[in-house]
Chain length 372, copies 2
């Protein structure tokens, strides 16, 4: 019996996977004069420079900061106009980096052919209806931003997610070579983010069979390669790159649930990396949601080669320990009397209602105390 | 370790699933003056008529024959021009029916805004680069045509598959109500087609993790609902409708393998329905390919809740028996001395080389003798 009476699937992004494909990216993208938005460690790498030689002209902007502020994005637009002495002559925009960089490239590709400032669009005063051709190239394996229509920006000090039909890229180029230089800690936190996407998309109330299949397959790849990936083994980095993108497609349709909702205050208040903040509550949530999705989670565990869902929860805990992360909130600077505030802010994120069993404030508080 | 070094995923079709959604199709499609290509039993149904009342104008063409001949398609174009007294005034094309009808609608939506005849495009003399907005609505649950960029047409008496970037529809509308009237035999043959798509896409040499996930999920739904679906239970028809579309997306990326290759001569020479012709060799192929994809097929069987691959092969045989189909070629008018010709023609289909282990002519002949 289908769990959802109605659903849609739409993801028009062309995903191209291949080791070394950045060097073929001009042919894949089909564009010759590009604006490249990237992280500084990308722009200085020999591999990147070689790949960019194939283009007719390349303008590089590499001063991206995390959680991109609207002001930074408006400044990029200004400096591009200055460089171009008027209307920019680019045929397309390439974003190469982590989630913040890809989100910046999404906004830039739309703003370059639209009126106004990014804040107008975040606040809903205007809507993007066009953009320059856009290729997104992730250097981490976690956010899935390369295959979603969401960007997260900072407006007046607050993180603001925004969706736009123009944020679906033309191409998501997955070249795992770019992920080989990820430090262990980033491989671990982004890998935990990808795992959380797979689990949450799978069990979300907004579930649908299409994305369940993707989530299953992604979760299996992640469990098989997570440890070797953080140890730097290339075959495992390849698998994680693919798995993170597939999990990205899954949650691009279903959205995420409580682990993400609770991660927001943990990241904002205590500066805990996003993927780690998600993983902190994931084992408890796997146990808590079980009674609402037993058959479905039994299937999940069975496909993953695990005896039951308890083994899945333990497996997540084990991956965190292998990464060297504490599973206790107290170790991240959280005070016991602050748990209520964390629970309160978590409940403000709408996605918490997509969690099977729809946890209440009390449920969330109980989970937070459990991992305190 | 990833099995494929490079792969692409691209399927821009918006899939909309929902019981009764045909009645909302004008809003979903966003078009008001439509040309509808459909089967005659569709055009006379009250449900269809009610749904069409929402459009501003509807021109219905319902004289579609199976394996659509190019001449028929060129005639439709002519009669549309006649009706319109010059350039057609349609905003979009809707195809509602089985695979042949959807394939016809694909060609019509491109031809209406292009020069020349369909044969020019099949023979590669011209290429489509545009089409009218296109919505495809399947009434069977098997072909997956609603989510592929392939059409199959008859040119000079020979079935000719053709791909075109314009054959990806804007919308695949999956309204299972349209499948409730499928006779038992059509539910069975098209269901076997969907099952074969899932299995073959999963094991194809052109495999990739994304489509493996879809194939896994689709196969599980099919095994759970096939029997109830041919018995006419609505919940099972709903599941089959979704599963067939998901399996369609899977093979739209990987293509199919030996079971399809061998089905072509069985259908052409003995008029055996496509899905049944595919299923005839599927159990033998499940056993034959196992040594080349053991681990992968173990995972498949395990997710399906089966002990091993032998149980999967037996399950397919059981579904055929439940459908009332013989599993012996001799019962379809095949003579023993014709097996060599069947094997020879099967080897001419390129997709046979996508089968794990790449079966030789002798391997195919041995399989045909096994099921003779």
């Amino acid at each position: 019996m289908l769990e959802t009476e109605k659903f849609q699937i739409f993801n028009p992004v062309r995903i191209v996977y291949g080791k070394g494909e950045l060097e073929n990216s001009r042919d894949i993208f089909g564009v010759s004069q590009v604006l490249v938005i990237c992280d500084p460690f990308v722009s200085t790498s020999e591999y990147f420079k070689r790949a960019m030689e194939k283009y007719k002209s390349v303008f590089i902007y590499d001063k991206i900061v995390p959680n991109p502020p609207c002001e930074m994005i408006d400044e990029i637009i200004e400096s591009v106009y200055e460089y171009s002495k008027g209307a920019p002559k680019f045929d397309g925009v390439i974003g190469i980096g982590g989630g913040s960089t890809l989100d910046t490239a999404k906004a830039i590709s739309s703003l370059l052919v639209s009126e106004g400032k990014l804040s107008d669009y975040i606040e809903g005063k205007k809507r993007f209806d066009r953009r320059l051709p856009l290729m997104l190239v992730p250097t981490t394996s976690g956010t899935g931003s390369e295959v979603t229509n969401v960007g997260v920006y900072t407006l007046n000090g607050i993180k603001r997610p925004m969706t736009s039909p123009t944020f679906w890229a033309d191409v998501a180029l997955i070249d795992p070579i770019l992920t080989y230089s990820m430090p262990r800690r980033i491989a671990a936190t982004t890998g935990l983010d990808a795992l959380t996407h797979a689990v949450e998309s799978y069990w979300a109330i907004s579930t649908q069979p299409y994305t369940e299949g993707l989530a299953l397959r992604a979760a299996k790849m992640i469990l098989e390669s997570f440890e070797a990936s953080i140890d730097g083994e290339e075959w495992a980095r390849d698998e994680m790159a693919v798995a993170a993108t597939i999990a990205g497609v899954a949650f691009s349709q279903t959205r995420t649930t409580a682990a993400h909702a609770i991660s927001f205050p943990i990241t904002s208040f205590y500066n805990v990396e996003h993927g780690l903040a998600c993983a902190l509550t994931l084992p408890s949530l796997i146990r808590w949601t079980y009674k609402f999705v037993s058959k479905k989670m039994d299937d999940f565990a069975s496909y993953l080669g695990l005896k039951d869902v308890e083994e899945l929860a333990k497996k997540v805990e084990q991956l965190m320990e292998y990464s060297g992360f504490s599973r206790r909130l107290r170790d991240y600077g959280v005070k016991e009397n602050e748990l209520e505030e964390i629970a309160k802010v978590s409940m403000e994120a709408n996605i918490i209602n997509l969690t099977p069993g729809k946890p209440s404030y009390d449920d969330v508080l109980r989970i937070l105390k459990e991992i305190y």
